[in-house]
């Protein structure tokens, strides 16, 4: 049995808007295993953003428990959780979310600063990662000097900085044209197949699910169905 990275045990998350209860996630159990490529799909309002925050250990559930490497995140202090998150999970956002005042290299170095790597080590690693995503020539460009696709590649390099167990991608192509979007998906597919990275992707775009091994369809805060796609099906290498 493959090692579990994060496990959700009958998790519920309810928001309050004024006095009104809004159940966003109504009882989901799922487990992300090392080496898999999982897609969480569903229409908007199905609770996938909330679920993604929970899977990314950014949020604490209202009910149920979340285990990050078999440790209950509700028992961790905020600082420990931030530290563990920085080490174990790499985030890719729809809005790229790069720090605007830092250049590409600075953005990729940032997670390593928080983990206390020394300057020589983290710079060398950041340069290597940027070359890997094809931005070796643009390391000193600020985010506003890069195209959307390039920004997202910086974000991918940043997500890989601390060599995390899992990459969590929230609508990674949502703000990109179809060509850039395909390049980003190919890059993620490559990371999964060639580098053995665990990837969890949240999307509403059903065209992207064929990159995944396991597709979980959500509706109204619950798992509607789960689908396994053949493991020797090679994608993204076209």
């Amino acid at each position: 049995m493959k090692k579990s990275i994060i496990r959700l045990d009958n998790v519920k998350k309810t928001y309050f808007i004024g006095d009104i209860e809004v159940p966003a996630v109504r009882g989901i159990s799922l487990e992300v295993k090392k080496g898999e490529f999982m897609a969480l799909v569903g229409p908007s309002g199905c609770g996938k953003s909330t679920l993604m925050n929970l899977v990314g250990a950014l949020d604490i559930p209202t009910e149920g428990r979340i285990f990050l490497e078999d440790k209950d995140i509700a028992q961790m202090s905020e600082s420990t959780l931030a530290n563990v998150r920085g080490k174990k999970i790499g985030f890719i956002f729809q809005q790229f979310n790069l720090i605007s005042t830092l250049d590409a290299l600075g953005n990729v170095v940032l997670p390593m600063i928080f983990q206390g790597y020394n300057e020589a080590k983290r710079t060398a690693r950041a340069e290597r990662l940027l070359k890997m995503v094809g931005l070796g020539e643009r390391m000193h460009h600020k985010p506003n000097e890069l195209s959307g696709g390039q920004q997202q590649r910086v974000a991918i390099a940043r997500a890989l900085a601390n060599n995390p167990d899992m990459i969590l991608a929230d609508e990674p192509t949502g703000n990109l044209d179809s060509k850039s979007g395909r390049q980003i998906m190919d890059l993620l597919g490559h990371l999964h197949l060639k580098e053995g990275k665990t990837i969890v992707m949240v999307t509403h775009d059903l065209h992207l699910v064929h990159y995944a091994h396991r597709v979980i369809h959500l509706k109204d805060g619950l798992v509607l169905k789960e689908r396994i796609i053949s493991k020797d099906h090679h994608h993204g290498e076209r």
């Binding site: 950014l58 949020d59 600082s79 998150r85 985030f91 979310n97 720090i99 005042t101 928080f114 940043r158």
Partner: protein, 403 residues
């Protein structure tokens, strides 16, 4: 890590140049004011101390009550030659001398101006007056016994800063209509009032101004090794008896140089404290400015804070990032403020020298500079505490969702 966060702060300053400058403005106005005020105050104190040390501490000045160092206000009761005789008889007095001065008209060529005319005793007691007043003839000769209508002139007159033409030795000037021959020029003392004076023999002054007995103040030197405050008390006692006044109701002041120095220092400290208090208000306002900017910054960068937390920043990292930023806002403001303050200090020094007040040297001791730097950093950092705490406490999900 602190090095990295410092780099972050400087990048932010660069991106938000105008806002950064405006925020620092509040700090550097305050620091500039404080640095220039302290440097000038310190310079003034140094000048005073230096002058007193030059004169020695075994001196006492006696002046009529209601005046300060002989100047200002009508004396309630004049000192006279009789008082000088009493003082000369007190045990421990080495030499004592008196001085008379009058604000009088002085004519040179066709120009008539008013200045202080000093009557100097020509016996050995004249020397102590010269020592204590710090003047020395550097060209021509001193007044000596037997001189009658002879005058020595201050440096302003000699340099042509008082009258349109320079007053040279062997020139004639008229004082209250009486012609005097110029025999000497007094070396520059360093302040315009003293350098504009003219000096005539005491006896001539008594005749000219019709003041047979009056002395504006009396100065004396104690014998070597004597306790000056004890001597001052003895003089006070004898003068009380002679002038028939009770203790506590003296119409005269007896001050040792040490007391005089303390008096000056105390006044200076009070004046400085008031000025620095006022300048501090501007620093306080500057601090509030930093706080305001930091709150705005936290709000603007909420999303960024969320991202940093998502990629592993702990609360203490966020706290440090914002504290360092606000601390440097203060510190850089302080550096600029110090530069401006030093500039103002030097400018005032230069201006004073232009006016003849060249004893005033702005002084910048290391503790003033270091203190100002430390203080400006602290103002910045403390102003940043509340905004930085707010930033560090943001929940990553909420911060990420913030647009």
């Amino acid at each position: 890590m602190i090095k990295d966060y410092t780099k972050f702060a400087f990048r932010t300053f660069k991106v938000r140049g105008i806002r950064t400058f405006l925020t620092m403005l509040g700090i550097f106005v305050g620091i500039a004011a404080i640095v220039s005020l302290i440097s000038l105050g310190q310079g003034l104190e140094n000048a005073i101390t230096e002058q007193f040390e030059m004169l020695g501490t075994n001196k006492i000045i006696i002046s009529p009550a209601g005046t300060f160092f002989g100047f200002g206000g009508e004396a309630s009761s004049d000192l006279t030659e009789d008082d000088l005789d009493v003082i000369n008889k007190v045990k421990g007095v080495k030499t004592a001398g008196g001085m008379l001065f009058k604000f009088a008209n002085v004519k040179f060529g066709n120009e008539i101006k008013y200045t202080f005319v000093i009557g100097l005793p020509l016996d050995e007691s004249g020397q102590i007056i010269q020592d204590l007043s710090g003047f020395d003839v550097d060209k021509g000769r001193d007044l000596k016994e037997g001189d009658k209508y002879k005058v020595t002139v201050g440096d302003f007159l000699a340099q042509g800063d008082f009258f349109e033409k320079k007053v040279q030795i062997r020139d004639k000037i008229e004082i209250e209509g009486q012609e005097f021959a110029v025999i000497g020029q007094v070396a520059r003392i360093g302040n315009p009032a003293d350098d504009s004076q003219v000096y005539i023999p005491m006896e001539t002054a008594r005749e000219l101004f019709d003041e047979p007995l009056k002395l504006d103040f009396i100065m004396l030197e104690g014998v070597k090794g004597i306790d000056m405050s004890a001597l001052a008390e003895d003089i006070e006692k004898d003068l009380r008896k002679h002038r028939e006044v009770d203790e506590g109701e003296e119409d005269f002041n007896v001050q040792t140089f040490e007391e005089l120095m303390d008096t000056y220092s105390t006044i200076l400290v009070i004046v400085q404290a008031v000025l620095i208090g006022i300048a501090s208000i501007s620093l306080l306002v500057g601090g509030v400015g930093i706080m305001n900017t930091m709150y705005t910054s936290v709000l603007e960068r909420t999303n960024e804070i969320g991202v940093m937390k998502a990629i592993g920043a702990q609360n203490k990292d966020i706290l440090a990032i914002f504290l360092i930023e606000s601390g440097f806002l203060g510190l850089i403001g302080g550096v600029i403020g110090i530069l401006i303050g030093v500039g103002i200090g030097k400018l005032v020094e230069f201006g004073a020298a232009q006016q003849g007040l060249d004893i005033l040297k702005a002084s910048f001791p290391w503790y003033l500079i270091v203190g100002a730097l430390l203080f400006s950093f602290l103002v910045g950092a403390i102003s940043g505490v509340a905004p930085a705490r707010q930033a560090s406490k943001l929940k990553p999900v909420d911060a990420l969702r913030y647009e």
